[in-house]
Amino acid sequence: MANAFVAAFEILSFGAIIVLIVLGLGIIASMMGIFNFAQGEFVLLGAYITYLAYAKGLPIWTGMVAAPFLVGALGFVLEALIIRRFYAAPIVAMLGTYALGLIIRESVRGLIGGFYLTVPEPIGGSIDIGTMHISAWRFTIIVITLLVMVGCYLLLSRTSFGLRMRATLENPSLARASGISTPLMYGATFAFGSALAGLAGALIVPVFSLYADLGIRFLIQGFVAVMVGGVGSFIGPVAGAGVIGTLSAALPWVMAPVVADVLVFVLAIAFIKFRPQGLIAGKGV
């Protein structure tokens, strides 16, 4: 019983980490139709900013709070300078964002000297329930992921900003005719997606430590999650991330980890073959 509880918690916590990473990726892919291959590096930058705060002796919380804003701001600038030129050609956009990601990744590798660096959790240690120990920080990540998910959903579905964002992305010319500044909305959406990646990086760096390939490690998993969940809505990629994250964490409990690793992808490919539109089809929130 205790064992089952620990297993459920661990699986849930890894699922939450994947959801957190995919949120930003999903918003950019669904709302803008751009597959941002630099998303992993935005996660890395969030992690790096948190590390910098720690290395400078500031409280780690300050780094975690600053990360989404700084990475979001960078996303806004990059959208205006680079991404904007690629909207007409999504394939070229993939290559462009991949190049961008490569530049960021190798720069960070240079800055941290290729090492693996630890960043402590603001809330460390474990929560003890009887004989069981569960990680306090992983528990915090689950809570924050839930809050961020609900927050994003409300922002997109209930606010006028969300409405204008969806209008811009669904029918830009009509949106422009209605007096919405579409370039600004594109920039804001990309910045928002980047900020979520920055937040994800800041929150996961205490778990995985900082290294240059931190972001790219999750990129493939993230894209598979988006495909499984379905492009076009906010909920789709999130649901896909939940499924992929949970599967990747759960399968090693019942089979050899090397087999589990491959099986997740095999299952995902089989699923997409039979349901190409993904778990949740259609546009909307």
Binding site: E10, R217, A256
Partner: protein, 404 residues
């Protein structure tokens, strides 16, 4: 004023050093011989190591050691009255790039010896261009899984026997009998575990489980659960970064250390200490040929360490896990062999290197085992305490590599 002059002189000497290094293509560096000798050409030393890519921190340290030693040898009058010239090629943590760059060393620069390669896959990729087609001597400096018995290929890092024979009995005494072998899924852990299991069982221990993970796996909840529920005493870890950090953290959070469990990891050196918080790896035991803490008891180690840190202050540490000590040992053994042979052709040097000895090196003396092309050396067991190592065991004499 005094300070300023000193720093300006220092700057000029560094600048001279830097301008002396000539770039001859992407990733190639030559540090030419410091004096011209009309009678005879310089001896060419080739270094092929990972200056870029994920393990650049290790390769850069190895290249630094080579620069330091070649400079020392030249300052002492060179070898056989000839100056040494250092050729450094980047293997870029990428085997296909490496083979091309190593060919440059062999065919264009015609070096007399190549030292380098860090991973076993890199050694396997570059040994053929060096030894078979290149007809050149090759020295491999990293700790590895053993079983490399190619002629003209000499290994100067620790083997499984050297890392297990003294270490595992210590672990059984200071940890317990029940071992878990969580491992990354590639050649080094697979081969090392075969040997480790033999030693564990011969000493009355038991392997509760041995399991392999994809190299980029970062979530180990299922593994940690098995370790806790099987009441494992010693985790003999061969999971590598990036997985090892999250793995140790999850073990710590699950109360493994609190319950008296012992972590063991034979590649852990000063570089890897920073992957985790000190508390998460408190008591982690490692067994290597050198730890920085030895500088306190061994004057020669203190001398090497100080010389390295003076020339190369910064993040690229002189550490055993990144093959820096093996590089040092390899170059000094080769130097001894060249002196004995009196010439630099491959067969004469290989014949002398076969039984070469150095009285002083990182961690103590070292000598090649005749006919085996592997190196006897002193081994140390160290335990991590509050973010530093403390030596808890020393081999009585030089430990046999038991290879070939």
């Amino acid at each position: 004023m005094f300070d300023r002059q000193l720093s300006r002189r220092r700057f000029l000497s560094n600048f001279a050093f830097a301008s002396g290094a000539v770039a001859t293509g992407v990733g190639s560096w030559v540090i030419p011989a410091p004096w011209a000798n009309a009678a005879e050409a310089p001896i060419k030393v080739g270094i092929a190591t990972d200056l870029t890519g994920p393990i650049a921190y290790a390769g850069t340290a190895d290249a630094n050691v080579a620069k330091m030693l070649v400079k020392q040898m030249n300052d002492a009058g060179g070898l056989l009255g000839r100056p040494l010239e250092l050729y450094i090629e980047d293997t870029a943590s990428n085997e296909s790039v490496a083979v091309g760059n190593v060919r440059k060393l062999i065919q264009r620069d015609k070096v007399d010896m190549v030292l380098g390669g860090i991973t076993s896959s890199m050694r396997n990729a570059i040994k053929d261009p060096i030894v078979a087609r290149g007809k050149t001597l090759y020295i491999y400096p990293q700790l590895y899984e053993g079983k490399e018995c190619t002629p003209y290929l000499f290994c100067t890092g620790p083997t499984p026997a050297q890392q297990c024979d003294e270490f595992i009995p210590w672990l059984i005494k200071n940890g317990g009998k029940k071992f878990a072998l969580p491992s990354a899924n590639y050649v080094w852990p697979h081969t090392l575990n075969v040997y480790a299991r033999k030693v564990i069982e011969a000493n009355g221990g038991e392997v509760v489980f041995e399991e392999y993970y994809p190299l980029d796996q970062v979530d180990f909840s299922a593994t940690v659960n098995r370790i806790i529920s099987n009441k494992v005493d010693v985790v003999f870890n061969t999971v590598i970064p990036p997985g090892v950090g999250p793995f140790f953290k999850q073990l710590y959070e699950a109360g493994f250390l609190k319950n008296g469990g012992r972590l063991a990891c034979v590649y852990y050196d000063e570089n890897t200490l920073n992957i985790n918080q000190a508390a998460e790896i408190e008591g982690l035991a490692s067994c290597l040929d050198y730890f920085k803490v030895l500088t306190k008891e061994n004057p020669f180690d203190a001398k090497i360490q100080a010389a390295y840190e003076k020339d190369f202050p910064g993040n690229f540490l002189f550490a055993a896990g990144s093959a820096a000590t093996g590089t040092y040992r390899g170059l000094k053994l080769w130097e001894a062999a060249v002196k004995e042979a009196g010439k630099v052709d491959r067969d004469s040097v290989a014949a002398a290197l076969d039984h070469a000895k150095i009285a002083e090196g990182p961690g103590g003396p070292a000598e090649m085992v005749p006919g085996k092309r592997h190196c006897k050396m002193k081994m140390y067991t160290a335990v991590a305490k509050a973010g530093n190592y403390e030596i808890v065991g020393r081999s009585d004499g030089l430990v046999d590599p038991k290879e070939c």
